[in-house]
């Protein structure tokens, strides 16, 4: 069974400051890793993904994440946040299955609160 832990339920930060949202996972098999963002009253939007290759992945809106296999982590970072980044962020994992079909296991989410 897989699990995803997002250690911080809420992260307050000032505008233009850097931010890191932490994500750790556990799985007995190789995985794909994802970060999704959810703005108020909207669905989930894919922010970035790690499938293979370079462990540093870049996504939309200036976000990036680094896959660390030894620490089973996939932390999300942004060097300078904007007010518009205020949203809930979900880390998710899915098995690497030959069929390509498997469900996503989500963390509980981290609410990023950016203030002026």
């Amino acid at each position: 069974a897989q699990s995803v832990t997002q250690l911080d339920s809420q992260v307050p930060v000032f505008e233009e400051a850097p931010v890191e949202l932490r994500c750790n996972y556990s799985s007995s098999v190789s995985v794909y890793l994802f970060w999704y963002v959810q703005y108020p009253n909207q669905g989930l939007q894919l922010l970035l993904k790690y499938l293979s290759g370079s462990t540093l992945v870049k996504g939309i809106n200036g976000f990036e994440a680094e896959f660390n296999k030894s620490q089973t982590s996939f932390h999300l970072r942004k060097p300078s946040v904007h007010i518009s980044d205020t949203a809930e962020y979900f880390c998710a994992v899915s098995d690497r299955k030959n069929s390509g079909y498997s469900t996503l296991t989500f963390g509980k989410g981290t609410m990023l609160l950016v203030s002026p």
Binding site: Y32, Q42, G43, L104, T105
Partner: protein, 113 residues
């Protein structure tokens, strides 16, 4: 381009009534997923359909919940005899191919009074 479409966006119902939630996936996507998002529970997997195979129903919380997918496209999630604890946002996602990148709809917010 068209994304995943869900309807209605909001549904208010009385306890004990049945409700149907609809999901129209991205055209050509062969896999379709339903999740539930509720306070304190986060995002929970409910059911998924892959192509013409039997669906994986392992996440359905009770036999009051069922889903079908007609013609490999549109899906309907049905909740019978709704209870207050069914109040949540129901999210649908679809994906294509070997790499499981799921694209989500905006969800249906269900409120059971």
């Amino acid at each position: 381009g068209a994304g995943v479409s869900q309807s209605p966006s909001n549904k208010v119902t009385e306890k004990g009534k049945d409700v149907e939630l609809r999901c129209d996936p991205i055209s050509g996507h062969t896999a379709l997923y339903w999740y539930r998002q509720s306070l304190g529970q986060g995002l929970e997997f409910l059911i998924y359909f892959q192509g013409n195979s039997a669906p994986d129903k392992s996440g359905l919380p009770s036999d009051r919940f069922s889903a079908e997918r007609t013609g490999g496209s549109v899906s309907t999630l049905t909740i019978q005899r709704t209870q207050q604890e069914d109040s949540a946002v129901y999210l649908c996602a679809s994906s294509l191919g070997q790499i499981n990148i799921q694209y989500f709809g905006a969800g249906t917010r269900l409120s059971v009074l």
